[in-house]
């Protein structure tokens, strides 16, 4: 187990290193840079002033120097200065992280709490009316983009109740109720898609398991239907579901980009789009790195869970 973990962590670090190169390169491949944007908002161009600002920001240096500089920054925990805001990038990035993590976690909790039970019900009551209703519902979830759903929620709220969630972040200590509403609605919009996916995987995986010999044996021994499903079948059926949850978590962050924008939540995803438009390299690089770390860690966690769920899966010798 320890060797396996060490291996996985080494691979994770290498992956992140590769990611950092891709992030760095892609950002610089995008046309224009912060200085172009600054002059664009000022409405004129002066090559000498442009040179001076590039020098001031350090983006006149060769790419490899800039890249190594960034790696050094990550190593030392100093993330550089935001080009756009003229303050340390960390100061910008830090308050965004908990917002996005909370939203992502809530969405996932919602997706699992909704997706797994409905998947089980759908499998157990295969081909019943209830099964069809739930399947249509989940298909709808897969078909609706989160931002659209988010917009519909906002429009619905404003049309029927003349109310929308707060425009700025409300901390739980300020008002727990508003905080909950502020996060639950977007979590619902984002989690719906994931819950639909989880529901469908749970259903098909459980249907497969329910046809296995050992389930018939359990039934033959006279165990109740509930025990058979929840104790014997579900645990084995969860393996693909856990995989999907892990992958979904990564997709979820992508879904948050638009949902945070629609709900005006000050999270990583919404800020990232703005930072990209401004070519604010220090902010973008570190935010994307943060997302990469979250994705890699969630995958690692999923792999660890396999061992817990399936005794046959054992890592290392």
């Amino acid at each position: 187990m320890k060797t396996y973990l060490a291996q996985r962590l080494t691979i994770a670090v290498l992956t992140l290193l590769g990611m950092s190169m891709v992030i760095f390169a892609l950002l610089r491949l995008a046309p224009g840079d912060i200085v172009d944007i600054l002059f664009s908002t000022a409405g004129y161009v002066s090559p000498s002033e442009k040179q001076a600002i590039m020098k001031e920001l350090g983006i006149d240096r060769p790419y490899w120097v800039q890249y190594l500089d960034w790696l050094r920054q990550i190593g030392t925990g100093d993330l550089g200065k935001s080009y756009r805001y003229d303050v340390p990038a960390w100061q910008i990035v830090r308050p965004l992280l908990p917002v996005t993590l909370e939203l992502a976690a809530l969405s996932m909790v919602f997706a699992v709490l909704f997706g797994v039970p409905t998947g089980v019900v759908s499998a157990v009551r295969q081909d019943s009316t209830l099964d069809y209703v739930l399947r249509v519902f989940s298909l709808a979830g897969l078909s609706m983009p989160a931002f659209w759903l988010g917009m519909v929620i906002i429009l619905g709220l404003v049309t029927w109740f003349r109310w929308i969630p707060p425009l700025t972040y409300v901390s739980p200590t300020e008002s727990l109720k508003l905080h909950a509403v502020q996060f639950l609605l977007p979590a619902l919009a984002v989690g719906y898609r994931s819950s639909a996916l989880i529901m469908r995987i749970t259903r098909s995986s459980l249907l497969e398991v329910l046809r296995e010999d050992y389930i018939r044996t359990a039934r033959a021994k006279g165990q109740s239907g509930r025990v058979v499903v929840w104790r014997h079948a579900l645990k084995n059926a969860m393996l693909p579901v856990v995989t999907v949850i892990g992958i979904e978590f990564a997709f979820l962050i992508g879904g948050l980009v638009v949902t945070e924008t629609v709900f005006n939540l000050p999270g990583v995803a919404r800020f990232l789009v703005q930072a990209i438009l401004w070519r604010d390299y220090p902010v973008v690089q570190n935010l994307v790195m943060f997302i990469a770390i979250v994705v890699i860690l969630s995958n690692l966690l999923v792999d660890m869970l396999y061992g817990v769920l399936d005794p046959r899966v054992r890592y290392g010798s």
Binding site: S40, V45, E49, D86, I92, P95, T168, Q274
Partner: protein, 544 residues
Amino acid sequence: MTRVRIAALPASFALLTLTLASPATTEAQTPKSGGVLNMMLREDLAQGFAIHETATISTVWPAMPCFNNLVLFDPLKKTESVDTVVGELAERWSWQDNFRNLVFFLRKGVKWHDGQPFTAKDVKFTFDMLREAADAPAKLRINPRKDWYANVEAIEAPDPSTVVFRLKKPQPSLLLMLASGYTPVYAAHVPPASYRTGCVGTGPFKLKEWRKGEFVELVRNPDYFVKGRPYLEGLKYFPIVERGTRQAALQAGKLDVSFPGETTKTAAEQLKAAVPQLVVTPYNQNVSDNIIMNVKKPPFDNPKVRLAVSHAIDRRALVRAVHQGGAVVGASLAPKPWGFWGLAEKDLLGLPGYATNPADEKARARQLMAEAGYSPEKPLRVEIVTRAIADLRGHGVVRDQRAEANRHRRLAQADRDGAVARDGDAWGLPDRGEPDGYRPGRPRRELLRELRLRLSAQLQPVLQRRSHEDDRRPVAGARPEEAAGDGLRDPEEARGRRRAPHSGLEAGLFHRVAAREEPDPAPVHLQLRTDAGRVDRQVASFAA
């Protein structure tokens, strides 16, 4: 830099934009103190509060309440003009030496938000920095409006409450530039770069907090020099990127007013239907829809093709279909009666593509295209780069119309950064007055200076009659009157033709005339409008 020549062809409209306000009454009433005004922003502040380092309304709008100008266009007046300039930090002002000395008599007892006293030194500091005087104590990182002050020879502060702007040549229009929202006075005792992150001003509101991407909060300045003002306790600006969410927030009452230029006629009608107590006030903005062509390379190096494009655009249909009637056909400057300098109807009708019969115009376009060697069998394909904002529908319409003239345009959407970096055939900018695409290079700077002086010459006779004449007390060191009237180069002036005063003029010219940075000294093609009654029909040629 690519060899891109840009001529702005006229597809210009003054947009009628709508402001929204609630609650229901806007009629004059006794002002009540208290309350916070909640407002929307389309994006976070671009450069903090550093108005002098940017030209975008996303900075100017939320930053202005923190600052004061020397003089300002009276915000209560609907149209800005030389007649509506009022004092802010300057209590009074006086033109002396035949418009070569502009003397400001400053308010006394004004304090910066950090408690330091405001003096003439701050004014000298700000404008020496802006004009990049040799002995300026500070320099801006980006200085978009340096040329506004090209005619300023020296700025003197003979005593703490007097400032003298000494000009190289008479330039009455300088006052109008000083009255613009782009001209706040910075504090001499804080570094100019600090305005990108904070704000030390003298204005009615002080910065309380700027949570990046979330909100900007300004609170009442209790020491404001106008006693009893401001009435509001504070201002709060919320950057909301998503247009639908902005509207929903307005509808839900989370915001009190819309963003300038944000609410189109259609949107306003929808909002009014949804929330009847909203107050919708139509107002005018000088914003034009532009197509900018690269006249240095085919196909737009051919004047016939450019002319054909202008003939092919049915401007009235564009106003009806895209702006839902919320716009007016005009040329560069705001059409009458919204602006002073808009073209008269008969002059407009004479412009290519402005005639009332679109069929004739299209036939003319077809003919021109045929002359240029294009036909339905051999159509011209060009690429237009646009900005990814909602108004792009307009360019779809333009495309359809031009298809009739045997041309097809592939619309390439690009965000504005892409547009900056790109070298396409043409840019279709549903322009909000931001000069993204037009960039004045050095050759044009000369031109702009020249133009400002000419315009000043036109303003001069009007200003000479103005009431501020009674304020002509002599100032220590002011020039004697001997230089009167020299240095003017306006031929119209020489012929004795005088015109009405105008405001907003500089900004209008800046946008229209400016073009991209040009390193090479070839002649520059620009479309020029020199005054209200006359338009240089085609592009004018200037040696750089």
